[in-house]
């Protein structure tokens, strides 16, 4: 104990002293003073953060796969632009779409500097980032955050936004001015991207000062509504378009947007309170309540299993709440609906909506399962007298409880909106249930408790893709060729749905023993 006491008094003395024994420079010669101020340190931090960002991505995806990522974006951007222009979409609409994408990505990227370590660890595993060194070095959190955001803006402007700007090539055609066209679009997109980041940072900064985010968003909505009502709607839209598509504005206006973005960003950092902490959350005893509720239904349903209750509580109390699977399914619905529209525009063919949406919406099984496993690890259950098969069984029950309504709502919306026939809607419902269970079983069997590994493991991703294609492609082809489905086709497709559902049930029930074997014989 005396040793410990000695250590404490030494460290106290060190913190009070103006010079630190053994520190380079000695008293009064610490580089840049006590706060490591100065351009040299800013450059050092910027380089360290940039290197960290690069290594994070190359480590996660593999060097070559990450290096090809901008190429993939460029090919997708240019290819989609060609397809849209060829199908009669106006060039201005394509440019607007690109800017909306950049804005959305910027809004999302603005949260990166504020993400909690537990959130990052859920996605990336154990991490210790340079951004966290404000806790151990004489660097202010605000300053680190500022450099971090500048680094993010530049990094993504090059890795993500620049490839997007290749869309300018098919829009303007190849000519001597092509490099200028690409550069102009890139600058415009980068500006919108930076503005998006700034908006998010500003909202978070104000929140750290006690201003609720919803009140700010409501203010923006009211202002937009008021300008539309009081002023001219077309003038409001034109102003919005100038803000979202800077390249459509005059040069002074563009410079003004850039200056305003920089000013708001600087002000946001000044307002940001690094000491802000989220209020501590308490909760009434929902576990006991849900268990009592589960006791009212037959045991065979598996609902009254404590492992199921825990999974549901994890889902409902994590960010986004119980609505996360519904939002994921809703996004899938929107994408598929847009796809149906594009296909119809290109080919003039509209698929049987029940079969088409039933087959594709089943894919949300992957995201639903991902949400159900996002917040725990299989190893954590091994302290209790439960088998790995028990854990997987509980996840399947939770999947049915959450996944069924999450896909049923968008499916019903789709068949009503696209006016499916009764036969088509019924067959689609069977496909939705069967394929959903199949995709779930496939995911659990291949990826176990870590569905996110699909993103980084090309072998598993390949297996999953082939497994999905085997079921989905024939159903989609039938959905396009026989519209509306004949009774024979309907019966055959219903049989396929039931068959794949059975395969899914087998796969999910075999996942427990498979992963038990893997974990215990590692």
């Amino acid at each position: 104990m005396s040793g410990a006491g000695t250590e404490v008094s030494r460290s106290t003395q060190s913190s009070k002293s103006s010079s630190v024994p053994g520190q380079r420079g000695g008293p009064g010669r610490q580089r840049g003073g006590s706060s490591l101020a100065g351009d040299g340190t800013n450059r050092l931090l910027f380089a360290a953060l940039l290197r960290e960002e690069w290594r994070l991505h190359t480590q996660l995806f593999g060097g070559e796969r990450f290096l090809t990522f901008p190429l993939l974006i460029a090919v997708l951007a240019a290819g989609a632009t060609v397809a849209l222009v060829e199908t009669g979409t106006a060039a201005s609409t394509v440019v607007l779409g690109l800017h909306v994408l950049a804005l959305g990505f910027g809004l999302y990227s603005g949260t990166a500097g504020f993400a909690g370590s537990s959130m990052l660890e859920n996605v990336f595993g154990g991490l210790s980032l340079v951004l966290g060194t404000a806790a151990t070095l004489p660097l202010s959190r605000r300053r680190l955050l500022g450099i971090f955001l500048v680094k993010d803006a530049l990094f993504y402007a090059i890795v993500f936004v620049l490839p997007m700007a290749t869309a300018a090539i098919p829009l303007g055609g190849v000519s001597a001015t092509t490099p200028v066209d690409v550069a102009t679009l890139w600058l415009s997109l980068s500006l919108v991207f930076a503005a998006g980041m700034t908006v998010t940072v500003a909202l978070i900064a104000l929140r750290t000062r006690g201003v609720p985010t919803w009140s700010l968003l409501a203010l923006v909505a009211v202002a937009a509504l008021a300008s539309g009502v009081l002023g001219s709607a077309s003038a409001t839209l034109a102003a919005a378009q100038t803000l979202v598509v800077p390249q459509s504005a005059s040069l002074p206006a563009g410079v003004g947007i850039a200056g305003a973005t920089a000013l708001v960003a600087a002000a946001s950092l000044a307002v940001y309170d690094p000491t802000y902490g989220k209020p501590t959350r308490t909760a009434a005893d929902q576990f006991a309540r849900l268990r009592r509720l589960g006791d009212t239904v037959p045991d065979a349903t598996g609902v009254n299993d404590p492992l199921v209750v825990k999974t549901l509580l994890d889902l409902s109390r994590s960010a986004g709440g119980v609505w996360k699977p519904f939002v994921s399914a809703g996004i899938l619905l929107a994408l598929v609906a847009a796809l149906v529209g594009v296909v119809h525009e290109i080919t003039g063919i509209e698929p049987a909506p029940g079969i088409f949406f039933g087959g594709v919406l089943g894919l949300s099984a992957f995201t639903t399962y991902n949400w159900l496993t996002q917040f725990d690890a299989l190893e954590s259950y091994l302290a209790y007298p439960v088998t790995i098969a028990d854990v997987f069984r509980a996840k399947r029950t939770a999947f049915v409880l959450v996944g069924a309504p999450a896909v049923a709502v968008p499916y019903l919306a789709a068949v009503l909106w696209f006016e499916a026939t009764l036969t088509d809607a019924l067959v689609g419902a069977v496909l939705l249930a069967g394929f959903g269970l199949y995709y779930y079983g496939l995911t659990v069997y291949i990826a176990g408790f870590d569905p996110n590994e699909f993103l980084f493991d090309s072998v598993r991703f390949g297996q999953f893709t082939v497994g999905v294609a085997v079921a989905l492609v024939p159903a989609l082809v039938a959905g396009f060729v026989v519209v509306p489905p004949t009774p024979e086709v309907a019966l055959a497709l219903a049989g396929i749905g039931i068959g794949f559902g059975a395969i899914g049930a087998v796969l999910s029930s075999r996942a427990g023993p498979k992963w038990d074997e893997k974990y215990r014989h590692e």
């Binding site: 005396s2 040793g3 410990a4 000695t6 537990s118 989220k278 501590t280 959350r281 308490t282 909760a283 009434a284 005893d285 929902q286 576990f287 006991a288 268990r291 404590p306 492992l307 209750v309 825990k310 509580l313 994890d314 109390r317 994590s318 917040f375 725990d376 190893e379 954590s380 091994l382 302290a383 209790y384 007298p385 439960v386 088998t387 974990y519 215990r520 014989h521 590692e522």
Partner: protein, 252 residues
Amino acid sequence: MGVLRVDELRKSYGDVRAVDGMSFDVERGELFGFLGPNGAGKTTTIRSLTGQIVPDEGTIDVLGTDPTTAPIETRTRVGILPEQATPPSFLTPREYLEFVGDVRDLDAVVVADGIDRWAERLGFESKLETLHTDLSRGQQQKVMIAQAFLHEPELVLIDEPLANLDPLVQEQVKQFLTSYAAADNAVFVSTHNIDVAADICTRVGIVADGKIVAERSVADETSDDLLETFLDHVDDANARDLPSLERDAIQT
């Protein structure tokens, strides 16, 4: 009477022999210290004892059960506090302990009583309704200790029991572990902290290179003696790397 018996246990991960001929036993009433540097094979041994992994060779007897062939039976009988384990982020301590009681098939009244008793003993009564994600690491460790003892098992296996606890709670936990073992139970504590082993254990097995290299009855030894024994049996590199801080602390 032995509650835990391990004989010639071996486990390799590829070419790395994590456990290599581990043998020891623990009797009722003992607080057995499993003392060794990081990488000595302590965690792999605990995972084998609780049926989380299957060893390559050797036999294990835990309260008359074989965790290799009947892991659920073993885990039903013992309490386990794994290394670095934290309670589920989005449950409150009350909900988590109810969950543990439910999984262990305990009577709800017994669980409710146990929750209040443990919360009071470890000082987290005011945090019973707070989500774990908003608790400090020390408070989370208290909840994990409570879950390991909730069913009052005859044998508890704990990896670093005092991690993240404040000095006052450390003393309370030490006293509790001592009294719990003395009440005809057994506590198996894995640690690399010589101070902790010397302070609370009745017997210590020193682990190096995947096996027990020395056993000492702590009642007859001071912390310095135990440290010297430790250094004598652990290879030079490990001795220099890992327990040096504890050595300084003891010698000053």
